[in-house]
Point group: C2
Chain length 486, copies 2
């Protein structure tokens, strides 16, 4: 990126083209949530959206949101959940360096956040899908969206399904965002589309952020933010140079699960005002081997014929292992009975009558796949998986041939990805400098920040939108309640 994002002093501002109490950069899930809450708190709010229309990456997603602790849907479907059990799982799902303040706030506020989203008009159905899936394909809402029932997570918290998808068929991030965009307007927030924010305006003496500089449809505009600026501009999966420098593992992703605006500009704008960044190397990579859920009964092997992960883990976890343990060279071995089409239409690398023939066809060294499948079958017959601890519901010896191998290599299949690294924030949404001090007047939420979810190998679907909308709301309230800078 060649744009200079260094903050400029107020003395460099020729005059303010726009003013608001709270100025929000980005109108995706995080930005809209911030706008709604800030405006409802009485603040004059202006949202600057870089694209022709709001929606962001949330609008391009499945629309799954992670809620728990006893939502209406969970209760109606007969699942018991508590804040404590949810927190036990979310703490692990967030990653090794989970921010305990964020974990607690997110879980304690989850039922209220669910109800808030329902009140926007989003329709969640009191229905549950039992099949292992990345999201319900029909109009059902509730499903297990993460590692709750998989080793080793299942040993640390009582499982409950917490993936909530709005009750519309297919991928419904667009449906979800329509309610957010509408609510932004109904709350009285103003929106400028095609407005790309390039620098913050910052008082060099106090470090207070007092506004920003943007390109609005080709014209430079200066926007004053009396109470604060909230950066909600998304991550950086679209920026290959930033990936190479900060998250080279994610260069293996060949499909960006993000808005075109997720090029890291928001992160750079924050850094230009002295913000710290963290967790820049991490993200979510997904090569979805399920649904069908029966695929979790398959055997995922690397080029040595060795298994390397429990196949029933969430796809973010299996994919992390596919990249970091198997080096992007792996296949899912299935028999006819459990094989079905995947969403990503995995190609079939080989079909053979026997495992020995399949081993030869895949170029796996002599005897290794045969041993792996023999071992797997021998233990699975007793409902055991001493190597990787797959759950009993997915343990079944592979049946009679023929056997197929789905191509899960990086060269031959889809690895979707987005980033988890970004600006360092407190649970309040305040952005911190490298010494842990809040930069006055600057807030952030969503993937522009190092938020609640920090690692793909522990992630659950819905955590990113859950985090973006929950902490977007918090940031909106915090900024609206801040003292004006004059």
């Amino acid at each position: 990126m060649t744009t200079d994002t260094t903050a400029v002093p107020p003395s460099a501002v020729p005059g303010w083209n726009h003013e608001a109490d709270v100025v929000i950069v980005g109108h995706g899930g995080a930005g809209a949530s911030a706008a709604i809450e800030a405006a409802r708190a009485g603040a004059d709010v202006l949202v600057l959206e870089r694209m022709t229309r709001g929606g962001g990456t949330t609008a391009l997603s499945t629309g799954v949101v992670y809620f728990g602790g006893g939502t209406r849907v969970q209760r109606a479907c007969g699942f018991e959940d508590t804040v404590e059990e949810m927190a036990k799982h979310v703490r692990l799902a967030a990653g090794r360096h989970a921010d305990e303040d964020k974990v607690q706030a997110f879980c304690e506020g989850s039922v209220e956040h669910f109800e808030w989203m329902c009140a926007l008009g989003v329709d969640f159905a009191d229905s549950y899908v039992a099949e292992k899936t990345t999201h319900p394909f029909g109009e059902e809402t509730l499903f297990y969206s993460g590692n709750e029932k998989a080793h080793p997570f299942v040993e640390h918290a009582r499982p409950a399904p917490r993936g909530h998808k709005p009750a519309r068929p297919g991928e419904v991030g667009g449906y979800l965002m329509e309610f957010f965009l509408r609510a932004t307007h109904e709350a009285g927030a103003r929106v400028l589309n095609e407005c790309r924010v390039e620098r913050l305006v910052q008082d060099p003496a106090t470090r207070r952020v007092v506004g920003l500089v943007a390109d609005h449809d080709g014209t430079t505009v200066h926007v004053r933010a009396r109470r604060g600026v909230i950066l909600a501009a998304g991550g950086f999966i679209m920026n290959k140079a930033m990936l190479a420098e900060h998250a080279p593992d994610l260069l293996d992703c060949n499909w960006e699960a993000a808005s075109p605006a997720d090029d890291g500009l928001g992160i750079r704008v924050g850094q230009g005002a002295g913000a710290d960044v963290a967790n820049m190397s991490e993200g979510l990579a997904v090569n979805a081997i399920y649904p069908p859920g029966t695929h979790c009964m398959g055997v995922l092997v690397d080029e040595r014929g060795q298994r390397f992960v429990n196949e029933d883990a969430y796809v973010g976890r299996t994919t992390d292992a596919m990249l970091r343990r198997a080096g992007g060279r792996c296949w899912l071995i299935l028999d006819d009975e459990i094989h079905g089409p995947t969403q990503a239409f995995h190609k079939v690398a080989a079909v053979e009558a026997t495992i020995a023939d399949l081993e030869a066809a895949l170029g796996i060294p002599d005897g290794q796949l045969v041993h792996t499948v023999d071992t797997y079958n021998r233990f699975a017959a007793h409902g055991e998986d001493p190597l990787f601890h797959k759950a009993p519901e997915f343990l079944r010896p592979l049946g009679e041939g023929p056997y197929g191998a789905l191509d899960c290599t990086t060269a031959g299949s889809i690895y979707a990805g987005f980033t988890f690294g970004g600006l360092v924030t407190r649970a309040s949404g305040e952005v911190l400098d490298p010494t842990g001090t809040a930069i006055p007047g600057l807030y952030a939420a969503g993937r522009v920040s190092a938020g609640l979810p920090l690692e793909g190998r522990t992630y659950a679907s819905g955590l990113s939108i859950g985090d973006a909308t929950f902490f977007g709301r918090v940031a909106g309230r915090t900024a609206a309640g801040a003292a004006p800078h004059d």
Copy 2:
């Protein structure tokens, strides 16, 4: 870290207690090299060292330096090497996001850098150690210090030994640094010990760094840098909070291979003036399973009895796999003939007459270690390792029992580590902001920067000191040649 490292404006400086053309923070390998070159270029140089005496992490190291392209020692020992072949390997050894400018400069300048170090008085012997080792234990100099002969590196560049250890027995980083400290003084640079740098002084209008604020033995001092400040203050392996936030993988290290001053303060000081950081998640972790080199003939297995890396790779690469592939749960299986004491005095987890008994003793699932060793032996008898491509010289079937298992778990053995992440620099030593613009008057070298070596899994011993001293010299010359700020 609670210290506020935000740069202060010149207006906040009550007066300068010290002045120099070039002010260098840290008197380890990078700082001393910078001081020597800057002073020899005619600059008035002041080095600020936080400890009671210079030396830094280099003084605590084995003293191995990575040189190549045809050094006097390489030629005397009969090894042909060229800048091109060296660059082919160093490009891979630096990691996936190798900085091509740094790779080229480092390799093209390597013979000259070797001769420069000899001219300081460091004694390198024209002798070669063929055994696979982390460093020569005696007075020999030359050895293979990295992955040059191991898969997959051996397929990409003609191997040559490039590890050069000064010709003194044992670990000789202290010996090496004595010449650097002496040369610093002889070149005319001044040194203040017990001087901890806490902030830079930076003109808010031009962003030019013009000095710094330090604590000198309990008193706050302001130091003016007419031409530039060079940060050479080391990495952050000693700062557990920074590790948790930026490099959680390195929390598995239970032995810090660094000076107590490597707590990241230098990185924070640079960030306080707007510098960008990169590669913060990476570092070197080392659980040295060799020497003896015969240990590379052993079989390294995880808790499933599976191999996961070629055992003859450099210890940084095997250790990366031990942590990230085996989850820190692994053992090295040896027979009596190849077993010997390691430097880290690995405990013996079990000794049994047969592999089946060893498998049971280690709690490895039934039949898995037996299969792994059978497979290994079957192929090794033909000089082959189709699974992990260990080099033929280390392929030998395990012999008769008894067999032993060395405890290589994180719970039971030594994992030494240091960090590779830090300030973003150009090959010139200039420090960059997040938009890729150089911050005037600010330079960095060594582990305070994201330098030449970026990944432990590709690293070779000697690259860190090689990088620190080579690019320390470059930074010294660049800063000495910069225009004074007044």
